[in-house]
């Protein structure tokens, strides 16, 4: 195999090698090589197939803008990433690299027939072709298009790597570590400011990495850059992040960075994160993002071996690789001459420099000619040949039909430089068009940021250094010199892009958009650049049009006969380059995806064999199956035992808010529909909370501990929003009230003991309190001592049985639970979970806010009209409840439903109708909100919202299901112990 590595060129160490495979073949690289430079060193240009036409494609660039060479890079089966840019990925020893979008091989790809069929794949092809028949879309078109679309294939295995996150702050963030960025960072750092300097490459230097004709402060540009890096790295106020991309510029100088930590390492430490997301808040942002060289738009400008001139220079001067052995140059800009000159000096044959301009810069032309390079000014490359690699270019004098074929194995092109204004644009800065140089430049800043250097259109080296030093806020003594001053540049189609509709002159390589596609889009009526973009998909690939946007715009402007600024530029959006999901997710996976909240009793519940269910973030005991029991059997047993003996339940997740202060009762009067003034300390009351619109928002038992202290409970799921709602009124509407709210949900472990033997179970554990029903009746609360610890004991019931809720400080919960269960077990009680809790409360017709109510239910609709005070002059919801719609008749009301077949359990959500034979659409009266099998009643029970429900008592309604219609009788909501005697013991 011929090596294209040039002895003495480049900065890599020849002795340090790495081996990798590409499409199964073993190659040797040098440490520091990118995949692109390593393959080029081995003479490989063909690296992929294009997206639509499957045309052979080679490496085009030496940086992040690469549209063609997208590869699949793997360490192992799971550590595999598709669509990796060969020009960015560093080679590591053992890398397994494969080309994409080809079958069976890169050299022979069946789908390249698309290239021959290309007249059918014109812009808008998909929009026009797959319109009919409609049914074919889901079954036929979409699956085929999906299979054909996309380049790489995602791995099926879970990603074994982990990803880190870091929040950071700095005074100055500098994006880009080229000459401008380094100068700005040094200038800022020397003032003492905290600085973060970011560059996407492994090494700092930016354009200095390839532009060897630049000297700064008397050193080569590269050496100067490395010297500045050493200086910066030694400063405690500076953080330099290489291999790190500024991918997003968000509001208020919030900057997203992705640091590639291990992708270049042969055997990374397992503890290291693969990538790190940096979320940086910068007081000031210096954008030193440079410029990106454009390609030339001409016929067949996409063959492997055709690449950007600056890229060829990078491969030579940094990696020591020649991109060919007989190289042509096609340019509209002086910079490409320097690539030719460098290559020529390195001993590579330059076939010719073809310059479409009549008058290029004199200095570069004479320098090239002095080296014996043929320079054709006023000429264009009008076509190329070569199947898997360019073999020749066809050159013609502009406006002439005479042409000449020149054999080459590589062709360098330069259409000039596009300032990288992506981040500026993301920050919502406004651009202006620099007509003289045919480029958009930063104009009006939306954030505290400043652009310096090439991205700001500052081309002159010393002007750039001065500008960057000033932007840093300090002053760095720096001056430089470059061999040539560059002129030129063009945007749009060059000679040879042809008007002929069969010519493929690519504007966007990654999406296979040609000049004729853009012309066609305009002809078909797309006159806004936003429409042209979407119709042709120009600039919509993952490279976001870094190369293609300006060309596309210029071609559209030309066809439209408008000036470029009038056609407009599409907005750049984050991310600048693709970011892995792993990075964006960072820590939030596995156990850290979301907090799993466990109650203080969790370990005890687990030991007792609980199955858990998720309720919000909480893990709640769902039921406690015994050996051989399924859920149904366990719940039936629990339901029966709780009513016959007693049941013990973990109620710790119940929301708790301590309402304290002289105005506590006054405040609760405003927040709940009930009245609280007359509640005596030591007593509890069930409260309903409505929003201002009159709909039920939450409910719960409130205990008054003292004149100025209430223990408020909320639903488990409602705790945070109820507290927010209360604080809102307290801060905003009633700020003069002397009352404060404290969440105590987690201060207390709450053990509910319910059933005929509840008192017998807890009595020996409680000190300082007479538990008799006379002294401590239903709806009482007291502070007492339980097993030696201060406790709050509630005599309350959510089952209709005698019930206690034992509140002890959370750390003692497990110990107290154990003691209670020990006594309960001996007396024949059971543990029960949320499922049994639901059944028992439904047997009593107790509602669950959020299940039986849905945000459109008033207290009266729910059958709790009694809880709305008639005497109070104000509470939140008082006016809403008087709205005509809430007062009208015919509203849906909560009622019970008893199915005709007692064994039939309704489905929650089932719709209810009056006439099962009514033609569709049927008149729906409401829906089933809760439905269970009641073991205690030996039949099914349900709660439902039914229009005019209370007026329908005893009537039959119907619940049509998919395969049958179920009849049910409207009933009272209290199914069990209608007299309610059991609760008082």
């Amino acid at each position: 195999m011929t090596s294209y590595r040039i002895k003495g060129a480049g900065r890599l160490t020849p002795a340090r090698t790495a081996r990798f495979t590409f499409d199964g073949k073993i190659y040797t690289a040098l440490e520091g090589d990118t995949v692109a430079s390593a393959l080029l060193a081995n003479g490989v240009h063909l690296m992929g197939r294009s997206f639509k036409y499957h045309r052979p494609r080679g490496i085009l660039s030496a940086g992040a803008e690469e549209p063609n060479a997208l590869l699949d890079v793997a360490r192992d089966a799971a550590r595999r990433q598709p669509n990796v840019r060969a020009s960015v990925q560093e080679v590591f020893d053992g890398a397994i690299i494969q080309s994409q979008n080809r079958w069976p091989t890169l050299g022979f790809d069946i789908s390249s027939i698309n290239n021959l069929l290309s007249p059918f794949f014109a812009a808008g092809f998909y929009y026009k072709t797959f319109m009919w028949p409609r049914e074919a879309w889901a079954k036929l078109y979409e699956p085929i298009i999906r299979r054909a679309a996309g380049l790489g294939v995602a791995p099926k295995e879970e990603d074994p790597d982990h990803y880190a996150n870091r929040f950071a702050h700095c005074d100055v963030l500098v994006a880009g570590a080229g000459a401008a960025g380094l100068t700005a960072a040094l200038s800022a750092a020397e003032t003492g400011a905290s600085v973060i300097l970011v560059d996407e490459r492994a090494e700092v230097g930016g354009a200095l990495l390839f532009d060897t004709s630049v000297t700064i402060n008397g050193q080569s540009g590269y050496d100067w850059a490395q010297g500045v890096l050493v200086k910066l790295a030694a400063m405690p106020n500076v953080r330099v992040l290489t291999r790190t991309t500024v991918f997003g510029y968000y509001n208020h100088n919030f900057i997203g960075l992705v640091e590639r930590v291990t992708d270049h390492m042969p055997r990374p430490d397992k503890l290291l994160p693969r990538e790190r997301l940096w979320q940086v808040r910068a007081k000031k942002v210096v954008l030193a993002t440079g410029a990106i060289e454009r390609h030339m738009v001409f016929a067949n400008n996409d063959r492997p071996g055709i690449l950007l001139a600056s890229a060829a220079r990078m491969y030579l001067n940094h990696y020591g690789v020649a991109v060919g052995s007989r190289i042509g140059v096609y340019t509209a800009h002086d910079s490409a001459y320097e690539a030719a000159i460098d290559l020529k000096k390195a001993g590579v044959e330059i076939a010719a420099i073809v310059d479409c301009r009549a008058k290029p810069g004199d200095a570069v032309v004479s320098a090239a000619r002095n080296l014996g390079i043929e320079v054709l000014t006023g000429y264009s490359v009008i076509d190329t040949a070569g199947r898997l690699r360019i073999s020749s270019m066809t050159v013609a004098r502009n406006s002439s039909t005479n042409h000449r074929k020149i054999a080459v194995d590589a062709l360098l092109m330069s259409g000039g430089w596009t300032p990288s204004v992506h981040l500026f644009s993301q920050s919502r800065g406004k651009l202006k068009f620099d007509a003289e140089n045919q480029r958009f430049l930063p104009n009006i800043y939306a954030e505290n940021s400043i652009s310096v250097g090439a991205c700001n259109g500052t081309d002159d080296l010393n002007a750039l250094l001065t500008e960057a030093s000033a932007a840093g806020g300090g002053s760095v003594s720096v001056s430089g010199d470059s061999a040539f001053t560059w002129t030129g540049g063009m945007i749009g189609a060059a000679e040879g892009a042809g008007k002929d509709t069969t010519v493929k002159a690519f504007v966007d390589f990654q999406h296979d958009v040609t000049a004729k596609d853009i012309r066609l889009a305009v002809r078909e009526g797309m006159h806004s650049i936003e429409h042209i973009k979407r119709f042709t998909t120009n600039g919509m690939a993952s490279d976001q049009g870094k190369l293609s946007n300006m060309h596309g715009l210029a071609i559209a402007a030309e066809v439209l006969g408008k000036e470029i600024p009038q056609v407009g530029l599409t907005t750049f959006r984050a991310p600048y380059t693709p970011v892995t999901y792993g990075t964006l997710i960072a820590h939030s996976r596995g156990d850290l995806f979301d907090p799993a909240r466990k109650t203080p009793l969790h370990a005890e519940l687990t030991k007792a064999g609980a199955e858990f269910e998720d309720v919000g973030n909480w893990k709640r005991a769902w039921y406690f199956p015994r050996r051989g029991e399924d859920m149904h059997a366990a719940v039936n047993r629990e339901c029966r035992t709780a009513r016959e003996v007693a049941g013990i339940f973990d109620a710790s997740t119940l929301g708790k808010i301590e309402v304290v202060g002289p105005d506590a009762a006054k405040f609760l009067n405003l927040m709940y529909t009930n009245a609280w003034d007359n509640l005596k300390p030591g007593k509890c009351r069930y409260g309903i909370m409505t929003r201002e619109d009159g709909f039920v928002y939450d409910d719960g038992v409130v205990g008054r501990l003292a004149e100025d202290r209430f223990h408020v409970t909320t639903t488990t799921g409602g705790a945070p929003r109820v507290l927010h709602h209360m604080e809102d009124y307290l801060h905003t509407e009633f700020p003069d009230l002397k009352v404060w709210l404290t969440s105590t949900t987690e201060q207390w472990a709450v053990i509910a003991v319910q059933g005929p033997k509840a008192r017998e179970i807890i009595e020996p554990l409680v000190e300082g309190l007479d538990l008799s029903s006379e002294a401590f009746p239903h709806m009482s609360v007291a502070e007492c001592t339980v097993m030696g610890v201060p406790a709050r004991l509630f005599r309350v019931s959510f089952t209709g049985e005698v019930g206690y809720e034992v509140n002890v400080p959370a750390d003692y919960g497990a110990s107290v639970w154990k003691a209670i269960w020990e006594r309960g077990e001996a007396l024949g009680a059971c543990l029960y979970g949320t499922e049994t809790m639901h059944v028992l409360r439904a047997e009593k017709g107790y509602i669950i806010v959020g299940q039986d109510t849905d945000g459109t239910v008033t207290p009266d609709d729910a059958g709790y009209g009694w809880a709305v005070s008639k005497k109070k002059t104000d509470f939140v919801g008082i006016r809403g409840l008087k709205r005509p719609d809430l007062m009208r008749s015919g509203r849906k009301q909560l009622v019970g439903l008893l199915t005709a077949d007692p064994l039939e359990v309704l489905e929650e959500g089932g719709q209810i109708v009056a006439d099962p034979n009514e033609p569709k659409p049927m008149t729906m009266l409401g829906h089933v909100t809760s439905a269970y099998w009641s073991e205690n009643l030996g039949r099914s029970i349900a709660i439902a919202l039914v229009a005019d429900g209370r007026a329908r008592m005893g009537q039959t309604v119907y619940i049509p299901m998919k395969d049958k219609t179920i009849a049910a009788t409207v009933s009272d909501m209290v199914f069990f112990d209608k007299e309610g005697g059991r609760i008082h013991g």
Partner: protein, 191 residues
């Protein structure tokens, strides 16, 4: 007379960290959430024996007692005096509550000794580890020793107190402590 209840700590046995950061559950402490208007600050400070700070993001300590400014009318008072594990701590919290009550000024003092638990994060990389999930600027310039704030750590709310240049106390609700410790442990490994 029933057996005495035994205390089980939420992060019992948790450990983690790296060469540059140490993670450990803090000892149990007594805590009250104290709420009061500006007019009550002087009286409450005297009663509690610690000056309630009135500057945002500051704390004040006296002996084993620290008062953290959480909001313009809100403090977290932590007493780290030796706690017998068989003592609920609530008694002492009640002491704090009673002391406050003795002032006669309008306020709210509520026992949150068991609601919160704390993790001590110390070492040269302590701030970086916390910044794995906390959006605050934790540089010494911005967050001095003694500074405190209620903020976020990953997906949970926490109260952060800087007890030394390389020492932080992270307070969170007990059911979030497993998540907090897990994220700290992960973040410590990621440095």
């Amino acid at each position: 007379m029933a057996d005495l209840a035994i205390r089980t700590l939420p992060l019992a046995g948790a450990h983690g960290g790296s060469a540059s950061v140490r993670l450990e559950p803090a000892q149990p402490a007594r805590r009250i959430s104290l709420r009061a208007g500006a007019e009550a600050v002087a009286a409450l400070s005297t009663a509690l024996g610690v000056n309630l700070p009135t500057e945002p993001r500051t704390s004040a300590s006296n002996d084993s007692r620290t008062a953290l400014w959480l909001g313009p009318d809100e403090w977290l008072v932590i007493d780290e005096g030796a706690v017998d594990l068989n003592d609920s701590g609530t008694g002492v919290a009640n002491g704090l509550i009673n002391a406050a009550a003795g002032t006669g000024v309008a306020h709210s003092a509520t026992d949150v000794s068991h609601r919160n638990t704390a993790i001590l994060v110390s070492g040269p990389a302590a701030a970086d580890v916390l910044n794995g999930g906390c959006p605050l600027d934790l540089s010494l310039k911005a967050f001095r020793v003694g500074a405190c704030a209620r903020t976020l750590f990953g997906k949970i709310e926490v109260v952060l107190l800087r007890t030394g240049e390389q020492n932080f106390r992270l307070e969170c609700w007990r059911s979030f402590s497993e998540y907090a410790f897990g994220l700290l442990r992960q973040s410590a490994e990621d440095l």
